[in-house]
């Protein structure tokens, strides 16, 4: 089998596993529906006097498209990181946890091909999630009758899409953690720790240079034009993801059962 044939065989296997797994189905539904409902609730609470309205004012300040997407984008920067981290960790850790990792030895499909297939499925799912939750928020705003130019809505939707995709890149190190920790629980713990560390980084004022906090800071910054420094800070997600990919493939090549 060529490397491509191995990857295609592994991709078929990973796709069968992924689409049947409760963790991927439940996470997908919770992320898209949950994010849309919380965003709608936040924007509808604008101007209210309830305790929830006071909390919602932190993410949604305008009862319109801007308020809706500000809330959705800020929530996505945390919720997507958690969801993507959990699923990535599960993808790369489940064979260790289930004890089926021995089946990935002594076969004509290499372990790096299996890992590459896992990354492919996870990346495709993250893109589908980013598109789905953006479409869900647009649909929600449309159902609420928000008015605005299509250009404004497209810019806001594009920012939500981009922030969600960036958090997807930042979730990829969970593959390394699951491999090193030989199970998905290590990765779930790591992604929770990263979310906490991102909050701490923001509080102490270095959040922009902490890659896991940068998308959230941009989400909270409103609709202003991005400066060159902020662009560099956001693009730090790329080397983080590239390093995670390289390290994970290397670990899967040298993996001992």
């Amino acid at each position: 089998m060529t490397a491509t044939q191995q990857w295609r065989a592994a991709l078929a296997v990973e796709w069968i596993k992924f689409r049947a797994a409760p963790v991927s189905i439940v996470t997908s539904v919770l992320l898209v529906v949950g994010l849309m409902l919380i965003s709608l609730a936040s924007v509808l609470a604008v101007g209210g006097s309830s305790a929830f309205a006071a909390k919602a004012a932190a993410v949604s300040t305008d009862r319109g498209w801007a308020g809706l997407f500000d809330g959705a984008t800020q929530i996505s920067s945390v919720a997507s990181l958690l969801a993507f981290g959990v699923v990535t960790g599960w993808m790369f850790g489940r064979e260790f946890t289930d004890g089926t990792v021995t089946a990935l030895y002594g076969i004509p499909v290499s372990r790096p091909a299996v890992a590459a297939a896992k990354f492919t499925v996870v990346a495709a799912w993250m893109c589908a999630m980013a598109l789905s939750l953006t479409a869900a928020v647009v649909t929600g705003g449309w159902l609420l009758g928000f008015r605005g130019s299509s250009g404004e809505v497209a810019a806001l939707a594009g920012k939500l899409l981009l922030v969600t995709l960036l958090t997807g890149l930042l979730a990829l190190p969970c593959a390394c953690v699951a491999t090193t920790g030989r199970g998905y629980l290590a990765a779930i713990g790591a992604v929770i720790a990263v979310v906490v560390l991102a909050q701490v980084a923001v509080i102490v004022g270095i959040g922009g240079w902490f890659p896991f906090a940068a998308p959230g800071l941009w989400a909270a910054a409103g609709g202003g034009v991005l400066g060159a420094t902020a662009v560099v800070q956001l693009l730090l997600a790329l080397p983080v993801a590239a390093l995670a990919l390289w390290l994970t493939l290397r670990m899967w090549r040298r993996l001992a059962a």
């Binding site: 065989a9 296997v13 069968i16 049947a20 797994a21 289930d98 990935l104 004509p108 001992a256 059962a257």
Partner: protein, 239 residues
């Protein structure tokens, strides 16, 4: 040329030596059984053969090649079941077997038809659409064996293949293995069940405390007594 060959193999985990000077061969068309008490080193030996861990010393060869130098393509035609069966809990028996077929190098359509054939052979048809988490231990074990045999391997390594099986399952597994061995497959099999080993194996090697301590004739009378004679003699010698 042996399909599997171990020469003076040692394996240590830290200061603990779990295999010590193992010599063993498995040829095409034979079943070579390993018997020994729990912790004797049978599973470690099989993990070495499959490249799951590296030997501390000696040589492990598959089809004449050093196992450490094998590429993924060299594993085509090798089937195995070590420890947990390949059974993803959320997938049905059919999907688990299709997955096993793809990982064994079959194309999609070939994996589908091979899954059906090996499923029937190992009596899995009644549970075809059932998720594997709902299977009994014995059915899950047969699923793992079906996964190991799905691509009609020329070499198979099976750790305790008849574990948890009912009598009908034992016969089905024995038939599936011996039929393939008659066609030239080489089988390295470990077992606690001496009667089962006596029915199936061409050669039997006894392992104790990480060393090969002798062999048993499969057709010998009272094989269980002979096994314990060897083990007790080894224990006495080690004192």
């Amino acid at each position: 040329m042996p399909c599997i060959e171990l020469a003076a193999v040692t394996k240590s985990y830290g200061k603990e030596r779990v295999l010590n000077g193992i010599d063993l061969t498995v040829f095409a068309g034979e079943i070579h059984a390993l018997v020994g008490l729990n912790g004797a080193g049978k599973t470690t030996l099989m993990r070495l053969v499959l490249g799951m861990t590296r030997a501390s010393g000696g040589m492990v060869r598959v089809r004449g090649n050093d196992v450490g130098a094998l590429t993924s393509g060299d594993w085509l035609g090798v089937g195995h079941l070590i420890e947990a069966p390949l059974a993803y809990p959320e997938l049905t028996v059919e999907k688990n077997l299709r997955i096993a077929g793809r990982l064994a190098g079959l194309t999609g359509p070939a994996a589908t038809s091979a899954a059906r054939a090996v499923g029937e052979e190992l009596l899995l048809t009644p549970w075809w659409g059932k998720r594997s988490h709902a299977l009994s231990l014995g059915n899950r074990q047969r699923l793992g064996l079906a996964a190991a045999l799905i691509a009609d391997p020329s070499i198979v390594v099976l750790d305790e293949p008849t574990n948890a099986l009912d009598p009908a399952g034992v016969v089905a597994v024995r038939t599936a293995i011996t039929r393939r061995v008659a066609q030239g497959m080489a089988a390295l099999v470990s077992s606690h069940h001496l009667d089962e080993v006596a029915r199936m194996a061409d050669r039997i090697t006894v392992i104790n405390a990480g060393r090969t301590i002798g062999g048993l004739q499969p057709d010998a009378v009272d094989i269980e007594r002979r096994f314990f004679d060897l083990v007790y003699a080894d224990v006495e010698q080690a004192r």
